[in-house]
Symmetry: C6
Subunit: 221 residues, 6 copies
Amino acid sequence: RYGLAEKEDQVGVVTGLAWTSVGGDLLQIEALKLPGKGRMKTTGKLGEVMKESIDAASSFVRSVSPELGVKPPKFETIDIHVHVPEGATPKDGPSAGIAMVTSIVSVLTGIPVRKDVAMTGEVTLRGNVLAIGGLKEKLLAALRGGIKTVLIPEENAKDLPEIPANVKEGLTIIPVSHVREVLGHALVRKPEPVEWDEAAEEAAAAARKASPGEGAAATAH
Amino acid sequence: RYGLAEKEDQVGVVTGLAWTSVGGDLLQIEALKLPGKGRMKTTGKLGEVMKESIDAASSFVRSVSPELGVKPPKFETIDIHVHVPEGATPKDGPSAGIAMVTSIVSVLTGIPVRKDVAMTGEVTLRGNVLAIGGLKEKLLAALRGGIKTVLIPEENAKDLPEIPANVKEGLTIIPVSHVREVLGHALVRKPEPVEWDEAAEEAAAAARKASPGEGAAATAH
Amino acid sequence: RYGLAEKEDQVGVVTGLAWTSVGGDLLQIEALKLPGKGRMKTTGKLGEVMKESIDAASSFVRSVSPELGVKPPKFETIDIHVHVPEGATPKDGPSAGIAMVTSIVSVLTGIPVRKDVAMTGEVTLRGNVLAIGGLKEKLLAALRGGIKTVLIPEENAKDLPEIPANVKEGLTIIPVSHVREVLGHALVRKPEPVEWDEAAEEAAAAARKASPGEGAAATAH
Amino acid sequence: RYGLAEKEDQVGVVTGLAWTSVGGDLLQIEALKLPGKGRMKTTGKLGEVMKESIDAASSFVRSVSPELGVKPPKFETIDIHVHVPEGATPKDGPSAGIAMVTSIVSVLTGIPVRKDVAMTGEVTLRGNVLAIGGLKEKLLAALRGGIKTVLIPEENAKDLPEIPANVKEGLTIIPVSHVREVLGHALVRKPEPVEWDEAAEEAAAAARKASPGEGAAATAH
Amino acid sequence: RYGLAEKEDQVGVVTGLAWTSVGGDLLQIEALKLPGKGRMKTTGKLGEVMKESIDAASSFVRSVSPELGVKPPKFETIDIHVHVPEGATPKDGPSAGIAMVTSIVSVLTGIPVRKDVAMTGEVTLRGNVLAIGGLKEKLLAALRGGIKTVLIPEENAKDLPEIPANVKEGLTIIPVSHVREVLGHALVRKPEPVEWDEAAEEAAAAARKASPGEGAAATAH
Amino acid sequence: RYGLAEKEDQVGVVTGLAWTSVGGDLLQIEALKLPGKGRMKTTGKLGEVMKESIDAASSFVRSVSPELGVKPPKFETIDIHVHVPEGATPKDGPSAGIAMVTSIVSVLTGIPVRKDVAMTGEVTLRGNVLAIGGLKEKLLAALRGGIKTVLIPEENAKDLPEIPANVKEGLTIIPVSHVREVLGHALVRKPEPVEWDEAAEEAAAAARKASPGEGAAATAH
Ligand SMILES: [Ca+2]
Ligand SMILES: [Ca+2]
Ligand SMILES: [Ca+2]
Ligand SMILES: [Ca+2]
Ligand SMILES: [Ca+2]
Ligand SMILES: [Ca+2]
Ligand SMILES: [Ca+2]
Ligand SMILES: [Ca+2]
Ligand SMILES: [Ca+2]
Ligand SMILES: [Ca+2]
Ligand SMILES: [Ca+2]
Ligand SMILES: [Ca+2]
């Protein structure tokens, strides 16, 4: 079934798009959340650039986590493992960035990813979506694999005229310029924000640290 | 005796199947559980892809551990060592993934592995079983080695027509698509799930952390 | 939009200038502040020299942090991630040093960076600005990208006579010899200093350490 | 004296057998136990495969430590250093595995190793002994070096007919299939087991952890 | 201004002398002291030998720190960053050793370094000054750069007859055999020693460790 | 003065002997003891084999430390830095092992090393001295450098007949087979042993750990 769209909406499972010398391909991306200490593990024979795109995706997600309903201290208590299957095939490049963001957000929020959406786009630390290469090959792979909707960088919209008409008819192609749009299209529902006042939390934490035994001492007599 | 099926059902010892330029071979996989701090050690001249398949196997197992009767905090108190003997022979590739999962689950649960079962299949973080190469050579090696039952990826069932009739007669070949099926066939009994309410446990842990001395202080006077 | 000036003033986003065999280019630099433990992460296929220039920038900023309104212990509670997008393009060299300083200061203080300012210059641990190469190509790229003001090292002012007149008319070119001048031109407002008496703070910390339970004990009876 | 049997029974000093392009040789293996934190250090220009065989030997020993009279928590308080002298000569291969086990067990238990015993055999995590190469050259080296007894893998017993008669007359050659047999022949006395109920110990440790101050609080009034 | 003497006496900024295939050059060395945990960071495209000379310089300084007015525990609370600007130029060799010592001592004591002094010499762990190469080229660079005084190893005094007369007239050249002499010439004032009785301090620390709660308990009733 | 015997007896400074393609040389070895956490630092462009010989020397010393008047817990509170000057010259090989032991023992005990003694010999974890190469070249270098006494491995005594008569007349050559003999000849006085009953100390430490607050609680009421 590899190379085909997923059979059901799943948490943490996202379909990216790869482009190699022999054409485009679907790229299944999986993330898991485990009890831990804030570590990120990546596997699947990933090159340095793809690993860095996961780092950037992860930092972006952490920087907006209250918007996603996740309080920042949560990250100190979990590990995240991102795996790209077909472990013998080398993968590289930054273009899976928005898929990495989506996978990490899904696993953190528990919100499943729509099974018939694929996506390609580099992500920046601010969540902006940058242009990618191989658009035609990637769209052909998406069509072949049963995908219905493909998210592409706004910066690549200028390449759409060169895409064959049957591909554009068979797919809903949505140009995006920020990850917020990506999440809106890819997740089955919108995350609910949580209140987080950083300054207030820091002050409280500092107070706790300054007098660790105070609570206990107040009741001892 | 190397290259032959095990003589008895053992905890943590699983028979995988390797495929090299000179044919197939049995691959004995051993796991041990030791008191520790959540570390994973791997030895046996393993290539990067096989080490990553052990990482993926391990994360999958941790993510479903309550199903296996193991509470997640247990992992912080043990180390797991996975060794593939014949230490001078290089080994690589992702196809031992389901054997790695089985070995880790056996050692965590204490449930022995059936000595006459061999298996091959890449595993994903969700426990899905992906296709492998060298099916014919691996099945021949299994037959030669006295194996009775071989678990293969569902995705490889399409290759069975090319397998010689005598091999298919001498072996029970079972296509599987998820690790749950693998464990059902390979372990001598089914693991018993344990209750684990992650949210409740987290709240309790947070409460303990917030007032470490509280229990003691309440009884001091 | 890559290769063009930013559309709005943003926190942590700075425009540097790169010089390669095929000419000059704008170099977007992004920094994020995350809750953490004083770690620095860098991504974007950066060479060793550029990574070291980020280290030098970071140490300089830490050494003058009270001037910037940031108390030194703050650094133990945050991680900083510096990313240079277009993750597939290798980048190297020390000439983004002053841009790195500006990006880190912006993210620490929360003060946005003027969107129409670009800059190039190596930075030393004392905040001095050292000469760079490729001045002409970098200024051409700035003009092409819609930049209005370019900060260059004082040591490169001697190269200005060789710059075409139309470039010098289209840009405000400001030679600088210390990072303080850079921040004055690049940030939308000046950081407000905070009082920090290192010796007094150290003595207080030492006192707290020497008698950790003292405060509590004083009220127990 | 290097290349000759030891002059007395010593703790932690074991004679292995090496096989190189220029023939067989005795291989002195030394282990030391030091106060520490559970680390393993290895020196003597050892290749990766020999280092992994030391890891496997060490994990096997830890997994059976109560049989050897050593309680598992002991390992957290010591470091073990395994050195193979003649530090300028590269050494590699898994065949010193059973000698590594013997050296580690000797140093942990304080029981000396018989000075006139040499041994060769790969070890698995379960303590099984696997076949090695170069049997003839190794036995010749043992005879030359004044060794009386050589332990070889049961799997190599099939090679004994090719060994010259004078070698077989000059040495007592003992095929072994598990490390327990190795220790029986190599140590000057049998280790005395210690009681260790893992589940009970874990429960007790968990109880201590849950209420660290309890013992103290119970006596405070 | 690079390649010229500094304009004012600064803390932590020392002028070394480099010697390359194209002649001699001034080598600005900068050190910063930051709140930290005893770490040493080095940047500036430094080779292994130069990094090791910084390690040796640092250990020497720590070993004599009470002479410099710095109590040893201070080192556990600071990080030191040594940077050699012109970050794109590779630098190596041990001959900046005494400059590294001077830079570290200046930053630790807060005593500025005379701006018109340059120096070259390898340093040992005991503070001895060893011979260097390229004396003529280095002295020429010093003269060219406006330096007034150059400290050279006593072992190189034998090379002075080969130095051109105008160089020897334009510079005060001082042979030194120990770092104490170097500091006397390079720092604008002498550091004031602090009392430090290691044995007494260790005993006090051990006592505090043995009964952490004692002080508090003595006042609880 | 490099290449000549030391001018006075110093703590931690030992003269080894090197042998290269261009002849023998004196090798000054320096060790320093610093407040720390049990780390070993080595500098001086040392190859892997020489670094491992320092590790072996260090473990040997720790294993016999009570004989040397040093209680084992002391090692957790210090760092040791071993440096071999002339930092630009690569050094390798195991033959400085006994010099490394002597340097470490001198620095730990504070007992100076005789300035006119040089030594060469590999050391094992048990303190045995193994044969070295280049004996003639090393002895010539010792004579040239003003050394009076040279310690060589007992195993090399068989090479003495080939040494020129004038060398043997100019030097006292002492064959040694264990490090204890080395220390007897090289240190200006014998270390005084200290009592250390490991089992008793462990029991006491375990007791302290089991009831950390007990002492305090006993006096609280
Ligand atoms: Ca595929
Ligand atoms: Ca890509
Ligand atoms: Ca085999
Ligand atoms: Ca494989
Ligand atoms: Ca560009
Ligand atoms: Ca540059
Ligand atoms: Ca030998
Ligand atoms: Ca071997
Ligand atoms: Ca220069
Ligand atoms: Ca140099
Ligand atoms: Ca020399
Ligand atoms: Ca040597």
